[in-house]
Symmetry: C2
Subunit: 329 residues, 2 copies
């Protein structure tokens, strides 16, 4: 937490004081949107949005746009809408996973049940499109709807791949792209659209976002195996217990014949998961997966040099890349 | 089924042969969209869309637009998108209700589980927005996002009201509006937008759709209590067993002190539900609820007279109203 805060202050130092001010306005807007549908939604959606975390996606929208005084309402709407979509997917994911806690807060699913959680997710989802449409940009709606289609497809692929330890690496990477990278891409596209960049430049900033999102997911999957629980607040190997096969196991299977022969369904207790994680770690798969993520971030940062950004804005976007690369929990 | 078919042929006779041709194109487009995301989705979403029923919402889009040869792609996209949203809500409703069958076909939830069904619903939802955005109309996206927000809000209210037999009639009507009427409204708005009517006329056609949608839901709720199961294919009083309090019970409670004192949670078997339905029927609540729905349809039909529609188009829209009023299963 303190390291993330330090990074944010560095980012602000690079990008300018408009960033924390705009992030504050996005926060207010999200609160207003959550409160605008009666007390039940306010309680549940408000909690979810409040517990939503680091606001990486809205931050990317703001940084990709740069200071846009004349178009602030459009920018705030874009930043709020990507966070609403992110919140919606968290709410639905908690239903899918039967998760009781998220960031230490009881999930909507745990508090109010499946029906409340599915409907709350649907509402957050719809509100995101309303918000963006009210701001009046069709290309923005297009970017967001492409990203939300991808999110759902990624979720479907992940369910299809469940318990399949032999899943090919390309398929795993496609899942990461659909489930995570595309919304990061949309965030950067939305910001670049507000800044009225050319289509080619919008696509290029989008590719930066996509790469950062991919790295974010790769490292998320490393952290699941690396732990420790004391730092992450989660059971080590939680994904594996769920049947979700990620890069560390995919790489480790190539190096350890016993792992290659493993039937994931036999791993059912936290102790077994812990032991499996330790075995994966001994193959050096975690280091390799981490190295792959760092390469992706480095390449993404290079992309920024060709874009017509202000020096501080470029620096701030690179720092977001660094903050993704540095994450350990 | 044969009565509905007869009505469709009457509607076509009034509106013109472009209607069945365009409905065919909408059908094709829906199939393409369902098939465009790999075999898993194609199997599940394809089944859902195919089992989706009467295509009332796309029909309303087409009829509200009238023949629009120059803007057919926009019209098809609008009609397909409302049906995709409708399909998405069916898929999610089946998760919420734990429903095994829909129109005699196993639900996605029953076939593939909660996760697959939530993700499939989310994908259909996203595809609807992509489809509409690709057709390039921001007002259309606005109409649809308003409707989808309403759908989710209605679902939330219904869960909040569950088992509360003393729910006020105004609250019940609000739920019907949110859950059903607003998507009918959006369908008519979308058609009117394609026809480039004025904002006032678009709103007026929207109000027609909203009224038809309200009547549709009122009669749906009457049919749940009226049965018989041999005609509807569903347990009589299925809503009551679910804790969903609808107009027949609300009206019957005003006339029957024993019903007013009833705790709905004590109704747990099909036999008890059947008995409760018979008791509601004896209060004449079903006739009153039906009469209310017919009044709503009659008023809606009157609205059409002030609009600049072709005679055949107006007649066809009125026939849709009649088909809603006539429904018995």
């Amino acid at each position: 937490m303190s390291s993330a805060a330090a990074t944010l202050s560095e980012i602000v130092r690079a990008a300018g004081s408009h960033v924390p001010r705009l992030l504050g306005l996005v926060e207010q807007r999200l609160k207003t949107l959550a409160a605008g549908h009666g007390p039940v939604l306010a309680a549940h959606a408000g909690d979810t949005i409040a517990a939503g975390g680091k606001r990486m996606r809205p931050l990317l929208v703001l940084l990709a746009a740069g200071p846009q005084a004349a178009r602030e309402p459009e920018l705030i709407a874009a930043a709020a809408s990507v966070e609403l979509i992110h919140s919606a997917t968290l709410v639905h994911d908690d239903v899918l996973d039967g998760a009781h806690l998220r960031r230490g807060v009881p999930t909507i699913w745990a508090q109010g049940g499946r029906a409340l959680a599915v409907a709350t997710g649907d509402l957050l989802f719809s509100r995101a499109f309303s918000e963006l449409t009210a701001a009046g940009s069709l290309p923005a709606v297009r970017s967001l709807s492409r990203a939300t289609s991808a999110l759902a497809e990624g979720e479907l692929l992940q369910r299809q791949d469940a318990w399949n330890a032999a899943v090919p690496i390309e398929r795993y990477l496609l899942r990461c792209e659909l489930k995570t990278a595309r919304l990061f891409e949309a965030a950067c596209e939305l910001g670049a659209q507000v800044a009225r960049l050319t289509d080619a430049q919008i696509a290029e900033l989008g590719s930066f976002g996509r790469a950062i999102g991919l790295a974010f997911q790769l490292l998320d999957d490393v952290i699941d195996v690396a732990g420790p629980a004391s730092l992450t607040g989660k059971q080590r190997g939680a994904d594996l217990l769920d049947g979700t096969v990620t890069l560390p196991l995919i790489l480790a299977r190539e190096r350890d014949a016993q792992l290659a022969a493993l039937d994931l369904r036999t791993i059912t207790t936290p102790e077994q998961a812990e032991e499996l994680c330790a075995r994966i770690e001994r193959t050096d798969a975690l280091a390799e997966a981490r190295a792959r993520a760092l390469r992706v971030v480095a390449e993404a940062k290079c992309r920024l040099d060709a874009l017509p950004l202000e020096a501080g804005q470029r620096q701030a976007l690179k720092l977001v890349g660094d903050s993704v690369a540095d994450r350990t929990a």
